[in-house]
Subunit: 215 residues, 2 copies
């Protein structure tokens, strides 16, 4: 199977999908798009992904998968080993909840098009954007820290000692936070798990600076 | 199994979970929280759900499930009939992608705490909040309309003739849009599917005005 990953090095959702593909041991062709230059707004790209977002995962037969979490669930179903979700329903619910806290409560509020919109509609400058970005990270990372620090299900990683879907989202978000110099100092469990993950090649090689289009 | 649904009538994520429970034919005790009165910010509620968000689904053994989509996936795994996702991996990826377009690109930008934040940080008044809300709905509903209108997989509902996860998100979002008087007129396929869904008791009974705390 030849996979083409249409993505952007700094995109958090692209980092997620790169980590998932690496964990599954799947090779892919890296196709970079410069978001700020509108390269995902072309008719060709929009025909593949009407949202004009990255990442898109193109399969050999031309089928295109969109939305990073839907694509990762597809990877999990079609390439079950190694698993990115626990086998028990309770564990799966916990891992998905941790992942969605990031994917539904932080990232959507802090991505590039939202920051642009704050500038366009409210004249938000870099400082105001940083305040906005930091607010949403803090609100959810505080709760995430509590949930990770107080649960016996937390292990070396977010859930036990196997890296999975929640770790993928956590790792990508910690990278994204660096855009506004947000460190993990305030969240010791998140910091510890991030450090563990960064020692794994599947994650480290998915990090933004290690991509061919990194600048 | 006795389930307690901690929720709020107007919350879009609560509407999703009510529809899913109804589709699965599961009874639940309805526990309402007035979000504007801070009833989900109490120590008791935060102990159950550290994010202070609705909905939370409490099981008889005291286990609490958070994040509506994680909870719905749990329902799907523990109560497979009737299914809310197709059986094939491609179909599941499509339905999840449609669902996440709403759950990750519209709702997180438009919920109550975001509108409050726009007021606090940018002095956004009702008109500015409406402009913001409408912008994000339009951006994603335009793409969703294209994807639904051009796919042979679209049937009576978002995917074939069985209502599922994407329909749950679509139905809840159309209701949420009414907060700012956004109709479905611009999106004929979305409008058609919403009308079909609203004829199903599982959806209609999940709608905000049909809840005990509706005002």
């Amino acid at each position: 199977m030849t996979l083409k990953l249409h993505n952007f090095f700094r995109s958090s959702t692209s980092t997620r999908l790169r980590a998932a593909l690496n964990l599954k041991g799947l090779d892919y062709e890296y196709v970079p798009y410069a978001l700020r230059k509108g390269q995902t707004r072309t008719p060709e790209y929009l025909a593949m992904n009407p949202q004009g977002l990255v990442p898109s995962l193109e399969r050999e037969d031309g089928t295109v998968l969109t939305q990073s979490l839907a694509t990762i669930e597809w990877l999990e179903e079609t390439h079950p080993e190694p698993p990115l979700l626990p086998t028990d329903a309770d564990g799966r619910a916990r891992v998905r909840a941790l992942a969605y806290m990031i994917a539904c409560e932080i990232h959507p509020l802090n991505n590039l098009r939202v920051l642009f919109r704050l500038g366009d509609q409210f004249d938000a400058d870099e400082a105001a954007q940083k305040e906005w970005f930091t607010h949403w990270v803090t609100l959810t990372f505080d709760a995430l820290e509590t949930m990770l620090a107080t649960s016996r299900d937390t292990g070396r990683y977010c859930h036990g000692d196997t890296p999975g879907l929640a770790d993928i989202c956590l790792y990508a978000q910690v990278w994204n936070n660096r855009r506004f110099d947000i460190t993990t100092d305030a969240w010791p469990t998140i910091a510890r798990i991030y450090t563990e993950l960064d020692m794994l090649p599947a994650f480290h090689q998915a990090a933004p600076p290690n991509q061919p289009d990194a600048s």
